[in-house]
Amino acid sequence: MTSDTPGREHHGDLGRRGFLRGAAVGVGAVGAVAGGATALTAATASASAPAAPKAAAAPFHGAHQAGITQPVQSASVTVSFDVTAADRRELTELLHTLTERARFLTTGGTPPTVGITDSPSDSGTLGPQVPADGLTATVGVGASLFDGRYGLADRKPLRLTTMPEFPDDDLQPAWCHGDLSLQLSAPHTDTVLHALRDIARHTRGGLQVRWRMDGFSSPSRPSGTPRNHLGFKDGTANPDVADPAVANRLLWAGGGGEPAWTAGGSYQVVRLIRMLVEFWDRVSITEQERMFGRNRDTGAPLDGVHEFDTPKFAQDPMGDVIPLDSHIRMANPRTAATDDSRILRRAYNYDRGMDSNGNLDMGLVFVCYQQDVERQFAAVQKRLAGEPLVDYVAPFGGGYFFALPGVKDRSDWYGSALLA
């Protein structure tokens, strides 16, 4: 690559440690691979707009990060890292490198050639030229990043804490928290894994994976929102964040006493929730449906016919049709008082082999975004305490993160305002 390649960082002398691989950026050749990328783009599942047939690739640059308002995609990996960068300077370099890699990977192009000076700059798992393939990268920061190490203590987002243990949780420390979260989503698994491998390769000295969970979203079966491992459509009811008024009220942080740098970001909650699918399969369909308050076949609320019918709780005050302790009714009672606790959910299914007792190890990578983690996620989670569903699921990991504001343009980088 030539040293005047736009966007390429000159790390120069980083001092004591090397800690990052030379972050050479490939030649942006979107046009060159656009054909391939288009061909590879498949219909994607949808969280907020399930009817949308094909999602256009989200642009990397913007006021907000990609991967938040876009529909969920077929493949994802959710990773939590601990930052091993030695100091604030190295953290800054790290975030530059992360930005460059994400920009290249989500844009696509020809990886830089290295001649005889290095092993190949790209793993080649997507072929000689990297297709963007609808890849999105979403980066968040955890409360631990704001401890003493990087001098950021006074910049912590107001509501960012270490994820507390909720009453029905069974948290495993090895699967919780972290300094930095990264979610990669794409229509294909190879695209997501290629990106993860590339990012890890370029950041080994500064980031170490704390935990990682791969997730997928299924095709519509037979129509509508994809289903989770319990057989129910998951992602039906979400606030319409395409409406800026809704997004500004429920999704984007900023204002209200938040540090100025947070504008355009959003609180990200990740919950790793094991599902006891064998147990679930031994539960009658009536009981299953009453637990959620929805019909399993259609996804319709039990008082409706179609998936997107609105449940009318007010007309069923005793819960004769939709039980008062059903998941949807407790999660969102649909009252004026609970309206501002709504969250934007983007869940993926996970599947990771077998448990020690011979059962399938499957579950949900529950991810949601909101303006205020206390007012929204935590409030919903508390309302759900003790719901009948808790016998069949066990939250064991995850964390609270703050999804950074978007990378605005080619000269911007993740966390530029945070570290300014």
């Binding site: 690559m1 030539t2 040293s3 005047d4 980083l14 004591r16 440690r17 090397g18 800690f19 990052l20 691989r21 030379g22 030649v27 050749a29 046009g31 060159a32 691979v33 656009a34 054909g35 391939g36 601990d82 091993t84 020809t110 830089p112 050639t113 290295v114 001649g115 005889i116 000076t117 290095d118 092993s119 190949p120 072929g127 000689p128 030229q129 390769r201 080994r204 000295g205 500064g206 980031l207 170490q208 704390r210």
Partner: protein
């Protein structure tokens, strides 16, 4: 390590850029120990030839039916691997080396692809060089006759020429082409030849000889401790001796079966207490840290000591393959990450971090020997050397008067820091191996 090995089996090592006549290569073959030698240069050069025929030709080889002398123009039928980029067809037979560039097209900067067509009678290496500096900007190895392969490059402004090294023929340099403008040139390096590598290899062999003297002194001491029934002293001297051995990482390959006798391990489903043929440091380690009596370890101590002495004696006549030097600097740390940071080789002493620190010594020694070559070839050398030092200093914080923190007892933060250091070292060592890959230049 080159991505494209020679197309023909390495019948003659000298042909392969291997050892020159005055320095025959060490006998090939597995070391018998745990070292996998995954990237053994001689082994891959031979074994991978098959792979080239089947897959690595990517497009062109498939299109023309393997290595044969099929002279039908394959470019016509091949699907380009790189699309949306400017392509220039270049002929690379000895008589036409570099033909097709400059004369009819306009040389230009930026990302582009040369479609190299070998119209000659035998396989050829092709390099894109700057004739003024002798630096190589790109290479294609083992381009079979009658085939076309794509060479993607990012060209800055400057002078370039193709160099074609056909088998059994003198190297031919094509016409010099000037790429106009003032775009900086991409990464390049002057090639390393076998001759460049001989002095550092000889120096390294000398260094190994000194380690062997240390080693046999240590194994002698260990034997004396065990014979005398002093197990506390034995544990101390075991560690000293083992670390000396672990510093010699780049030489294991040359040791032949001795490595297995001295430092072998057993498979995971085998009980080390009853493993037939399990000898050496790890067998003794198992005994010393599992309450075995001194008397029961006497035979093992003698076996190890004898093997160390024999190794020392044999070393006088052994010769290392210079072509392996760069690879070894890198592989030592790969092995360290794979076997030490996972505690796979722990038989009770919990000293994997000590071993890892000793492995860093080994890698550093080779780098020091190679430094004169790397100085103006690898701009990251100083940074790499500093990383090795920092990583080692950090590992040493886990040494409490000869008792090391076992890998499994590291806190999460410590573990992550160790992993970060190793990941960082390895990424920086990869270029060393690439740059020191021997290129035949005549």
């Amino acid at each position: 390590m080159s991505a494209e090995p020679e197309p023909e089996p390495a019948a003659d090592p000298a042909e392969e850029g291997g050892a020159p006549p005055e320095m025959p290569p060490a006998a090939p073959g597995p070391s018998g120990g745990r070292r996998l030698n995954l990237r053994d240069w001689r082994v891959t050069a031979t074994a991978a030839a098959v792979v080239v025929a089947v897959t690595a030709g990517v497009v062109a080889i498939t299109a023309t039916g393997h290595h044969g002398g099929d002279r039908a123009d394959p470019a016509a039928s091949a699907t380009p691997a790189y699309t949306g980029l400017p392509h220039t067809a270049i002929d690379v037979s000895p008589s036409t080396c570099g033909k097709g560039w400059g004369a009819n097209g306009k040389p230009h900067t930026g990302t582009q692809v040369f479609d190299l067509h070998n119209s000659g009678a035998s396989a050829t290496e092709v390099y894109l060089t700057d004739p003024k500096t002798g630096k190589f900007y790109a290479e294609v190895e083992g381009l079979a006759p009658g085939t076309v392969r794509e060479m993607p490059v990012e060209l800055g402004s400057g002078t370039y020429a193709f160099e074609c090294q056909q088998e059994d023929t003198d190297s031919v340099t094509g016409p010099t082409v000037t790429v106009p403008g003032n775009v900086p040139q991409g990464p390049a390096s002057r090639p390393v030849t076998v001759h460049d590598l001989i002095p550092p290899t000889l120096d390294y062999q000398k260094w190994i000889r000194a380690r062997m003297t240390e080693l046999s002194a240590d194994t002698g001491r260990l034997k004396k401790d065990i014979d005398g029934g002093d197990l506390a002293a034995a544990r101390r001297d075991w560690l000293a001796g083992h670390l000396v051995y672990e510093r010699m990482g780049a030489a294991y390959d040359t040791f032949g079966d001795a490595d297995g006798v001295i430092n072998g391990t057993v498979q995971l489903d085998v009980d080390p207490a009853h493993a037939a043929g399990f000898t050496g440091f790890h067998a003794i380690e198992y005994g010393l840290w599992h309450g075995r009596s001194a008397a029961s370890l006497r035979g093992q101590a003698a076996t190890l000591d004898n093997a160390a002495r024999k190794l020392q004696k044999d070393w006088a006549t052994q010769q290392m393959d210079p072509a392996n030097m760069g690879l070894r600097a890198h592989e030592i740390i790969e092995n360290s990450e794979q076997f030490e940071l996972t505690a796979r080789t722990d038989y009770g002493s919990g000293t994997n971090l000590a071993t890892a620190a000793a492995n860093i010594d080994g890698s550093r020694e080779i780098l020091d020997e190679l430094a004169p070559l790397l100085k103006d070839r690898d701009p990251g050398l100083a940074r790499l050397q500093a990383t090795l030092d920092d990583a080692q200093a950090y590992l040493r914080t886990f040494d409490k008067g000869g008792t090391w923190t076992p890998v499994g007892k590291l806190t999460r933060a410590q573990r992550e820091k160790v992993d970060a250091y190793f990941g960082d070292m390895l990424e920086q060592l990869a270029p060393v191996a690439a740059i020191c890959d021997v290129r035949r230049t005549t």
